[in-house]
Symmetry: C2
Amino acid sequence: MPELGDREREGTIELLGVIAYGSISGFTRMAADSEMARDLVLKRALASMAVREFQSHEQLCDHIVALGGDPVAAMAPFEDAFEAYHARTRPRDLLEGMVKAYIGDGIARDFFVEISRYVDPAARAVIEQTGGLQADRDTIVAAVRRGIREDPRRGGPLALWGRRLMGEALTQGQVVAAQREALSELVLGLSHDRPGATLEEVGELMQRLTDRHQQRMARLGMSA
Amino acid sequence: MPELGDREREGTIELLGVIAYGSISGFTRMAADSEMARDLVLKRALASMAVREFQSHEQLCDHIVALGGDPVAAMAPFEDAFEAYHARTRPRDLLEGMVKAYIGDGIARDFFVEISRYVDPAARAVIEQTGGLQADRDTIVAAVRRGIREDPRRGGPLALWGRRLMGEALTQGQVVAAQREALSELVLGLSHDRPGATLEEVGELMQRLTDRHQQRMARLGMSA
């Protein structure tokens, strides 16, 4: 078990809790959205993305327990934010569902990789293994591009949809960050003796998240 | 690779196809139903049952490929039957969803174990590892019993619901069996040199399925 100070431990459990709840809610939504796919190859790609979320969820919960925390208690504070995100971004059809799976998974992965720089190596290792498989992402990207090629009128609204996903994710992320003190202290390096993020670095982090989002949108054939 | 005659191979691929489609459609429905659970322990149990279905699906597809078949083509003939089953048994709330997860998983497992007696050992091994985990089933059974204890008026309608699930499963099963000749030949031992089922044994098999269904209903605190 890693030796963490109380406050660092608390912040780490909060961080693992937010990712763990994000994973189980991502699992549920993505699995439900996979029902819209009639094409079995696509259905399997979406289902496989969802299953990876569940596996991440389990590993994150195991690590919360290893740190002496209770996974259900650790996840509870983040329920509202994720449920609000999903309620506000319910895909109306398969194309929207696929864009959400790809864009949402991407934003989450980027964020976790960024933030894992500020946690101890054991938690970092657990966080870094989250996220979907490249093969499934490739299947989804190809299907979205095909969908837009077949009906070019979908391109504009889907680009708006992608922007909205990013906007809602940032909104809910800020709600969470503002409420969780131990988590903010962890990122800012106030609860441990490794270097934390300066405010300038937090700004740069946001810029990188935005850049990578634009790259994903471009891969889907859309401008962000 | 197992050495099967053409007709046996065809029947085995049909059997793996029906189970593989049942697994992916079970995954999707069960994962979607897990969204109704607010209790995280329950949500995880339902999600875990769903994930097991997906893992079964992948292993079944791998074995179809190993036999020289195409999983998507092998599953296609069974899509309508499963979609009809799920459309006719859409849970209206979490209690119905949990009863469906437990009862449906149980009927499927019983059926697969019975039928795997008539296939070659390699396919049998793949089929036998399908189905949920005992710990998840126990969590679900306890939650259903608790739900009925808290609101005893739910008991009667839920027992009817359990009977309906069994009825719909048998109906769709018979539709499938009547349509798939190679599969029927496999079970009746007409396409290989191991003993097949006599008609009397098919009757006994149905009786065992019914008996075990009643045991599960009793475990939920209901009479079948």
